[in-house]
């Protein structure tokens, strides 16, 4: 039956969707700081991929998806100040630090978040893909269509800026 063929195709596509949905949404979020925009553009990127599923080489899906997302984002926004916000999930480590210490840490966390938001977009995105998504430099380079050296450079610059928070970093 043709409809079941369609279902099968949809199921295959779902594997891709599950694999990349969050990564692409977060990628746009790291660029924009706008979660609604990120969710919308991610759907749109997958929609474009879906429509072209028969012409896209399976090995290139990832970089293709990031390229579509990036281009959709470029269409949307011109130079808006990015203010990132993250939800704070409870972490597994039980803290036995003093309340005073915990308060200080909370303060630094806020400073760090602001400093990350203020990074130039390219450096910020690479930094967050690496630290939040735990993507390797190679993986980031492949996704963004840039060289590993360029990833290293952006990462280095991001860390350098964050170091400015304190000479000790």
């Amino acid at each position: 039956m043709k409809s079941s063929f369609h279902d099968e195709e949809t199921q295959q596509f779902r594997v891709l969707y599950d694999q990349y949905y969050e990564a692409v949404r977060n990628f746009i979020y790291y660029k924009s700081g706008d979660i609604n925009l990120s969710e919308d553009l991610t759907q749109e990127a997958f929609m474009i991929l879906w429509r072209k599923r028969e012409t896209i080489d399976a090995t290139k899906v990832k970089s293709y998806l990031y390229t579509i997302a990036h281009n959709l984002f470029l269409n949307e926004i011109k130079h808006q100040k990015v203010v990132l916000k993250f939800n704070q999930q409870p972490t597994s480590t039980v803290s036995n630090e003093s309340p005073q210490y915990q308060m200080e840490e909370e303060e630094f966390r806020a400073q760090l978040l602001k400093a990350i938001s203020d990074l130039p977009e390219k450096n910020r995105v690479v930094f967050l893909m690496n630290r939040m998504e735990k993507m390797t430099y190679k993986d980031i380079a492949d996704s963004l269509g840039i060289s590993i050296k360029a990833v290293e450079k952006r990462m280095h610059k991001a860390l350098q800026e964050l170091r400015n928070l304190s000479p000790k970093i």
């Binding site: 949809t10 977060n26 609604n36 281009n71 939800n87 999930q89 972490t91 630290r131 000790k168 970093i169």
Partner: protein, 308 residues
């Protein structure tokens, strides 16, 4: 300001504290470990889960007209119905064009280059201060981009690939070439393969590797031999000129270093030589010295170049 400093010291103190408390510090990168600790538990503030997003996505692809067309039963008495449905699908596709024909616009700001992966894996590298537009929707039908500024193209083999500028068009099948359209002048250098250049008044010339075509404002085309590597010089930070108006060279300085340059010298000066993009002062000296010009930095980002 004082507050800021206090905060910094605070942060340093905190880091010290942190380092003493680490049982197994990463000797290569303790700061990364600390950053990770601060960032642990951060999640993007999503408004829906992936499952919810998928349900929404599946609903929208299920509603897609082309899928409906697939389940129309094929029987003689339904042929007209099928044809009508097919026509309807076609119409919907056309009216749905708004979604498809969105043009992607990629901008390389001053001081930056941008690498663009086109839908067929062809690559365009934009030089500073350039804009590239293309429609990924119609890409399968027609490989076409429009360019303002300068870009180096590495084109995958396939159907004709066209770069449109307001001064003329460049068409290739699969090759690498540089297109520079600044002011009124369109300059095309062929690195590999064959490149066809059509000027604004429809003159056509085919370039072989190592050839350069210049289309001037009146549409006239001239071809010359140049020395090319596998990449244009600008991709390696080198800007070479042969008998080019000084204003045009200074315009490139402005794009590369993200500065504004005002030129008050004689309009007739022409420059032959090279500058590199790593040091602004050096670059200005290499242009101004042989031309007997001088330059001053007026304020933070403004430069005035004048006769000595």
């Amino acid at each position: 300001m004082a507050d800021h400093n206090t905060n910094n010291q605070h942060f340093a103190h905190h880091l010290d504290h942190q380092h003493h408390n680490q049982s197994a510090p990463d000797i290569h990168n303790p700061e990364i470990e600390y950053l990770d600790r601060l960032m642990a538990g951060w999640t993007v503030p999503a408004t829906r889960t992936r499952e919810e997003a998928w349900d929404q996505f599946r609903a929208s692809i299920a509603a897609r007209p082309a899928q409906e067309a697939r389940v129309i039963a094929f029987s003689p008495r339904r042929i007209w119905g099928a044809a009508a449905a097919a026509a309807a699908v076609l119409l919907i596709c056309i009216s749905g064009g708004v979604f498809f024909t969105r043009t992607s616009e990629i901008i390389a700001q001053a001081g930056e280059t941008e690498m663009v992966n086109l839908p067929d894996e062809s690559v365009a590298t934009l030089n500073a201060g350039s804009v590239l537009r293309y429609s990924s929707a119609s890409w399968m039908l027609e490989r076409q981009v429009s360019l303002e500024g300068e870009a180096f193209f590495q084109v995958q083999r396939g159907s004709q690939f066209t770069v449109k500028t307001s001064a003329g068009a460049v068409a290739v099948l699969g090759t690498s070439f540089n297109v520079k359209h600044r002011g009124d002048i369109l300059e095309v250098v062929c690195h590999t393969g064959k490149v066809s250049v059509t000027s604004a008044n429809s003159q056509v010339v085919t370039l072989m590797p190592g050839q350069k075509a210049i289309a001037s404002a009146d549409g006239a085309l001239t071809v010359s031999q140049v020395i090319t590597g596998d990449q244009p010089g600008w991709m390696k930070g080198m800007f070479e000129y042969e008998d080019v108006a000084v204003q045009d060279v200074l315009a490139e300085i402005a794009r590369q270093f993200e500065v504004t340059v005002t030129y008050t010298g004689p309009a007739s000066k022409r420059f032959t030589g090279v500058f590199y993009d790593h040091d602004l002062r050096e670059a200005l000296i290499s242009i101004c010295d042989p031309m007997e010009l001088s330059f001053i930095f007026d304020h933070e980002r403004g430069i005035t170049v004048s006769a000595r």
